[in-house]
Structure formats: C-alpha cells, structure tokens
C-alpha cells in the first residue's frame, strides 16, 4: 500500500477543505447581493462532507479503516432571506422591504478559519508521510 495511499487520503482532505473555503468566500462576497442570477437575493451555499473509500486502499485487510473525505453535495441554505426596511431601495417590495441574502458574515469567517486550520493540518499529515518515506529510503545508507 505504501505511503501513496496515505497521501491520497490527505489530498482528499485538502481538496474538500479548499472547496469549503471557496464556498465561504463566495457567500461572503455575495452577502449583499440582492439580485442574484435567477431572481431574488443570493442564497447561501453550504458544503456537505462525507467520509469515502480511497481507491488505493482496496484489497487491504484493514481497508475499511482508511477513510478519505469528499464533498457529497453543495446545498443551498433554505433559510429565508433577511428583510430590511428600505422603501427607497429599487428592489424594495410592496411593503418597502428589501430581501438580503441569508448570509451571516461572522459565520462565514468562522467557516473560513476552520477550513484553513483543517487545510494546514492536512498539509502536516502529508508532509509527515513524505518524511517517513524519506527515512525508509535512508535505510542502510
């Protein structure tokens, strides 16, 4: 199985966390978008992660303990838009409310930070695997 499987596992984590970061960034960037494509305010996106099998581990006796991660879907947050009373606004409705995206910038920042932390941990994990492989190469030198 060698270290390549371990690196595949770490790589899956890096990939998933990068998606989380991108989605959080997208949510933040569109926090004030009242007119998204398809009409209505921007709807917050959410990343759903799930543990997956890693192809390199197939056939190993303990393969079920080798867990990679993948983005199973990117969902739209069904929470209702945030209404702000602003009758002068071009997008104000009949009651004078403007619908803003259901995005909480603080939450998005927290998501970005946790994704970033998880990304760094994944890098540490992968570097360790490389480090161990190099030690193996040094046997007998």
């Amino acid at each position: 199985m060698d270290f390549f499987t371990a690196m595949e596992v770490s790589a899956s984590g890096l990939s998933a966390e990068r998606t989380r970061m991108n989605v959080a960034a997208s949510n933040l960037a569109n926090a004030q978008t009242t007119q998204a494509a398809g009409g209505g305010p921007y709807k917050r996106k959410d990343v759903v992660l799930s543990a997956v099998d890693v192809p390199g581990a197939a056939g190993e006796p303990f393969a079920q303990a080798v867990r990679g991660v993948a983005v199973s879907q990117i969902t739209q947050d069904a929470a209702p838009p945030r209404l702000e009373y602003d009758p002068g606004h071009p997008q104000a409705n009949a009651q004078g409310y403007v619908a803003y995206p259901n995005v909480n910038p603080v939450e998005e920042m927290v998501d970005m930070i946790t994704a970033s932390r998880a990304y760094e941990a994944g890098v540490t994990s992968m570097t360790t695997a490389v480090n161990m492989a190099e030690r193996a190469l040094g046997i007998g030198r």
Binding site: M1, D2, F3, F4, T5, G56, A133, A136, L137, I139, G140
Partner: protein, 99 residues
C-alpha cells in the same frame, strides 16, 4: 581473538581458518559455504523480485520493503564471498602443509 562470546552463529562461522582455533575440516567449510551461497541466491532473487514489482508500481511493494530486501541480499552475497575467500585460504594452507 579467540573470544568464545559471539553474537550469532554467523559471526561464529567467521572464525574459520583462525589459527588460534582448532581448524575445521574441509567438509564444514564446504557445507557452510554451500548454504551461504544458497541463501545468497535466494535473497538475491527476492530482492530482484521486489525491485521489479516496485518498478511496476505494485502497490503492495512499499519503499521500506524493497530497500530492506535489497540490503539483505547485499549482506548475504558479501557473507558468501567472505566464506569463499576463507575456503580458498584454508585450501591453500592445506596445500602448503608439508606432509
């Protein structure tokens, strides 16, 4: 050095031909050389096998597996060579003994 304390049978064997010890008979030298040669051949085959499997990208052949197999073969060949040299030396000694 005729120290009786040895680390392993192999190191034991290396005292063959040593003048302080009772010289072993020709058969012993030949037998241990034969065995060492067989071991070396076997380990060399395993090492080549391992290297080829690794080169083919066989996922079950890891870095430390192939390196260790190669090193073991190297040591075994070295040992067989040493025994061969000792056998030749013992033979020469024998031939030089005036009857």
């Amino acid at each position: 050095m005729s120290a009786p304390v040895t680390l392993s049978p192999m190191i034991d064997q290396l005292q063959l031909g040593s003048s302080e010890l009772q010289p072993k008979t020709e058969t012993d030298v030949a037998a241990s050389f034969g065995k060492a040669l067989a071991d070396a051949r076997g380990l060399e085959k395993q090492a080549t096998d391992a290297a080829e499997r690794f080169a083919n990208g066989d996922p079950s052949m890891g870095i430390h597996e192939v390196i260790i197999a190669t090193e073991k073969a190297s040591i075994a060949v070295r040992y067989a060579t040493t025994l061969k040299n000792k056998a030749v030396e013992a033979y020469r000694e024998l031939m030089n003994t005036q009857v």
